[in-house]
Point group: C2
Chain length 213, copies 2
């Protein structure tokens, strides 16, 4: 994958616990139809074999659409099923190890909870940074204090690689995150918990990137 051409504008992060009983594959299909440009599969409770199976199911959907599939945390899962890359938190595998283990061209995204995290991630060769959390969020309870729009502006000035805001992003606040300098919006509950994930994705994208649809 040509990592410079990745469109991070609307980046879906899955969460089976927030999907209201619907399959992740169904949510992802709908979200892609609604304009999602990148998908991260995040699984925290399932077995490795189930994680690989779920990733392969999403790969089938996303390959056809030319959309990258990024695996949260698990480099083994990404290697086994051939993902586009991984997304690593500060407690996941160090980026140096992941880069060494993954094939050339694999995307590596890093979660940054501070300016310092972001600067280090860029220095160590991250392909993009997830700035987390931008706003308070019910999706994750173990997060640092919200960085806010000022945090986005600050990090935007300090790093050159794409930055994606995550945490509490929805229809009403996406545009200001982009205006603050983010390249993309990572969304969890505003899409996966929506009654109509396709419609929700389309609305968020339209509101944040008025010229895109």
């Amino acid at each position: 994958m040509n990592t410079t051409s990745v469109d991070y504008s609307l980046y879906l992060v899955t969460d089976r616990n927030l999907s209201r009983g619907r399959s992740t594959a169904m949510i992802v299909s709908e979200a892609v139809a609604g304009g999602v440009t990148c998908v991260q599969l995040r699984e925290k409770g399932c077995s490795t074999r189930e994680f690989i199976g779920e990733a392969l199911a999403l790969k089938k959907i996303l390959c056809q659409a030319g959309i990258p599939l990024i695996i949260n945390d698990r480099v083994d899962v990404a290697l086994a099923m051939g993902a586009s890359g991984v997304h690593l938190g500060q407690s996941d595998m160090p980026i140096e190890d992941a880069r060494r283990l993954l094939p050339p061209g694999a995307l590596i995204g890093i979660s940054a909870e501070s300016l310092e995290d972001a600067v280090i991630a860029e220095k160590k060769g991250a392909d993009y940074i997830g700035i987390s959390p931008v706003f308070a969020t019910p999706t994750k309870t173990d997060t640092a204090p919200p960085l806010g729009l000022e945090g986005i502006r600050c990090i935007r000035k300090a790093v050159n690689i794409p930055i994606i805001g995550i945490g509490g992003i929805n229809l009403s606040n996406g545009k200001e995150v982009i205006s603050a300098g983010a390249n993309g919006l990572a969304v969890v509950s505003a899409i996966v918990s929506a009654g109509d994930p396709q419609k929700a994705a389309r609305a968020i994208k339209k509101a944040a990137f008025p010229g895109s649809l």
Copy 2:
């Protein structure tokens, strides 16, 4: 590692929750001094980074002693820190994927809960099989019904690779597991929960392999 020369006779499987507050590194050091010949690091709740750190700490101890370090489930952790191999359950990564991802000579052990599992594991190139559970065990609650000594005998006749009994093995029953045809004993609580893990390991080994010490 020359996989034909591995000594599986007393195979320690770690469990931080059963270690009574002592560090896994301390338990492993003691157990090795007591005659453990192989160590599997099993971590189910910690972060990937912590898992790698723990594995590196054990590697330091085990390298010096020439004892293999096997990582439970996580091929990514094994790759990142250079373990001797992995141990995979029936819900972990399929062996074909693990073999492809791991370096040549890496050990792959497979948990078998039936004769059929064991035969398939050998056919797919496992280096050894963990027969589980031999007896009822308090360590894992999600196990199949105990296979018993008859199960060991049955599997011994069907496969040629090393087989290791696991589940409820302790000082009093290890010898009969070996007599039934197992090459080794995998032990969790009888060592990690023991007041003196070194003494416990030595006693189990002496009881099961009277000529070994």
